[in-house]
């Protein structure tokens, strides 16, 4: 099954279960979704439950908040992360806060989904990642799906929960293949150990997990070491327990992320490690992230602006040699 099919299946199964679940967004209905995540659902559930909205992101999220107040369980799609900036007031001032400000009188069972990241030459206004901003907002749960099975289970969980969720996808993952195990439930807030190892803990999420996995053979060969690779899965809350166990075993932490390095999401993970498990670290942690530049159109420059399997391997090898680890 493809990643986008797993998301589709999660939507389909939950919509089938509960007619309060509605989906809204640009081209999600008749057109089938610009990344085909909602394909087929319009035919099955009709235009009242697959709502094609105008290009008005503030309203997409703002209306979803109101739908939730009115008793529905909306799942909103923002076509690309960059456009979510238009909805930041609704996400931060409303979606994240109404439950708190009303002392629990209002609950917002809702999900906002969007793809993000560098795809292929979509340029600066279509290529960004905003988890660093959104994980700084109390009141939101933020999940990032890097694989097919997680995408299915985690989206289902988010839809069925009574809390407001942001669900982050990556544009280059939609056609990723994988198995969905519908029998084995998962805890969407638990980090996933993608590969066990004993010498260095590499923490990552979303598409970078695949890039890290592609880099690992090179790293292990160059250094003669074994890498443990962790997919955070839930970006807020973070499963610090799993990280702690791993780093206590390996004594070394590398954080790999696609967003810009300055103020990037990984700063939180590294700063947590420095504060909380300082003495477990045998070497300075390493952050590998996107460069501090807008994303350029040209393909060579674009690839130079984010981590790639090659640059990840190279940076880790250099860091390791420099620190004698």
């Amino acid at each position: 099954m493809l990643y986008r099919e797993a998301l589709n299946k999660a939507l389909d199964e939950t919509m089938d279960l509960d007619e309060n679940i509605v989906v809204l967004g640009e081209d999600v209905g008749l057109y089938g979704g610009s990344y085909r995540v909602t394909e087929g659902l319009y035919a099955k559930y009709g235009e009242k439950r697959l709502i094609d909205t105008p290009i008005a992101e503030l309203s997409i999220v703002g209306n979803a908040v109101g739908m939730a107040i009115g008793g529905l369980r909306p799942v909103a799609e923002i076509m690309t992360a960059n456009f979510a900036l238009l909805a930041f007031d609704q996400i931060v001032n409303h979606m994240a806060k109404l439950h708190y400000m009303s002392a629990g009188k209002i609950t917002l069972p809702m999900v906002v989904r969007f793809p993000q990241g560098v795809s292929k030459q979509l340029a600066a206004q279509h290529s960004e990642s905003y988890e660093q901003m959104l994980c700084a907002v109390p009141g939101l749960r933020v999940l990032a799906a890097s694989d097919v099975n997680y995408a299915y289970h985690a989206l289902k969980h988010a839809i069925m929960s009574d809390d407001p969720f942001l669900f982050i996808e990556h544009e280059l993952l939609y056609n990723k293949k994988g198995e969905v195990d519908t029998e084995t439930p998962i805890d969407p807030f638990k980090a996933r150990i993608v590969k066990e190892g004993k010498d260095v803990t590499i923490v990552s999420y979303l598409k970078m997990v695949d890039d890290v996995m592609a880099a690992v053979p090179k790293i292990e060969e160059a250094l003669g070491c074994s890498c443990e690779v962790i997919d955070l899965c839930s970006l807020n809350p973070v499963d610090y327990e799993t990280l702690k166990k791993s780093i206590e075993k390996t004594s070394r932490l590398v954080m790999v992320e696609e967003d810009h390095k300055t103020g990037g999401y990984g700063a939180q993970i590294v700063s947590w490690a420095a504060e909380e498990i300082f003495y477990a670290l045998d070497a300075p942690p390493l952050r590998i992230a996107g460069k501090d530049t807008p994303i350029p159109y040209n393909r060579t420059l674009e690839l130079a602006s984010i981590p790639t399997p090659d640059s990840i391997a190279e940076e880790i090898v250099t860091w390791s040699r420099k620190n004698n680890v």
Binding site: A56, G62, N93, S102, P185
Partner: protein, 323 residues
């Protein structure tokens, strides 16, 4: 409007004004803090609109004490909220600008100008989905009609034919900025005209407001889609307690107050319904007493527990609600 309704509206107007003056006093004494926006001058509009929109849901702004009470939230719970107490309608977490009570179909109290309008649109969608055409009333000021959220909402509500009543309280000012300096005309109903019927009413005349809102709700109940009502009104005080109201002349204020909604409603009671001064005096006394009780209640109510800081960030166990 029959006598009973008129009496009730008058009562809530004077209770509202007394409430606002009490809030002002306790703000100055330090019992209330933050932004406090008084509705004095606009009581007729606030009370009559809410009473007329009997069924259905209401979304309002930060200037909402009187509306919240007109919806049935007790003055005690509102005053306690202003005092930041646990017995407040939002348990002291929201304050003056954030009064929520879904059991009275009242959803705030929003401090982002225009930010609640898309929420009301979404709620109207839910009501239509549920085949409930009593609909939603969303209240906002003239200042909110210049923001994108308002415009997007006009378009969506019209495109989706939602049961939504837009009520614009045009008091001609957004803090210190007169509406005609930032919009090309004084009446903001013009903005709604391409999308839906747009009505105008004198917001200082509670009887007229009552009637127009009744008519407007009847329109949306028929499934015709949204409707817009603009009520011209006037606030007597500064925008909030931190505004000295220097941008309006004494003459302008005097003209405002000559249209006083309470005086006008009183004349309706005496002239149309033959109420005598005694009966009115009794209402006034009762209103003042209710407000005094609310203040006393708020003053002695307890502070929230320290743990309250950490509750209601998420639904208890909510992340596993249906899984």
């Amino acid at each position: 409007m029959d006598k009973l309704a008129a009496e009730e509206i008058y009562y809530e107007m004077i209770r509202g004004r007394a409430f606002e003056y009490a809030a002002k006093e306790h703000y100055m004494q330090g019992d209330i803090s933050g932004f406090l926006h008084l509705d004095i001058g606009q009581e007729g509009l606030s009370v009559a609109a809410i009473k007329a929109f009997e069924k259905g849901d209401v979304f309002s702004t930060y200037r909402e004490h009187i509306m919240a009470m007109a919806r049935g939230i007790s003055p005690k719970a509102v005053m306690a909220e202003l005092f930041g107490k646990a017995a407040g309608v939002s348990e002291g977490k929201g304050g003056s600008m954030h009064l929520f009570d879904p059991s009275h179909f009242f959803y705030g109290g929003d401090a982002i100008v225009g930010g609640h309008i898309p929420n009301a649109v979404g709620c109207a969608y839910a009501r239509k989905y549920q085949n409930n055409f009593d609909g939603v009333m969303v209240v906002f000021g003239d200042g909110a009609t210049n923001g994108g959220a308002f415009f997007e909402s006009l378009n969506i509500a019209a495109a989706q034919k939602l049961p939504l009543l837009f009520l614009c309280e045009n008091n001609r000012y957004a803090i210190g900025t007169e509406i005609t300096r930032v919009a090309p005309f004084e009446k903001q109903s013009h903005k709604a005209e391409p999308y839906m019927p747009a009505l105008e009413v004198d917001g200082m005349d509670a009887v007229a407001v009552y009637k127009v809102i009744k008519d407007a709700q009847a329109y949306i109940q028929k499934g015709h889609g949204p409707i817009f009502v603009e009520a011209m009104t006037c606030r007597y005080e500064g925008h909030s307690m931190s505004d000295a109201n220097r941008y309006r002349s004494a003459q302008e204020m005097a003209l405002c107050k000559a249209r006083d909604p309470i005086e006008r409603m009183k004349r309706v009671l005496t002239e149309r319904f033959g109420m005598d001064e005694d009966a009115i005096g009794a209402l006034e006394a009762k209103a003042q007493q209710e407000v005094d009780e609310a203040v006393a209640f708020a003053a002695q109510a307890s502070e929230p527990a320290p743990e309250a800081l950490y509750t209601h960030i998420f639904v208890e166990g909510g992340s596993h609600a249906l899984s």
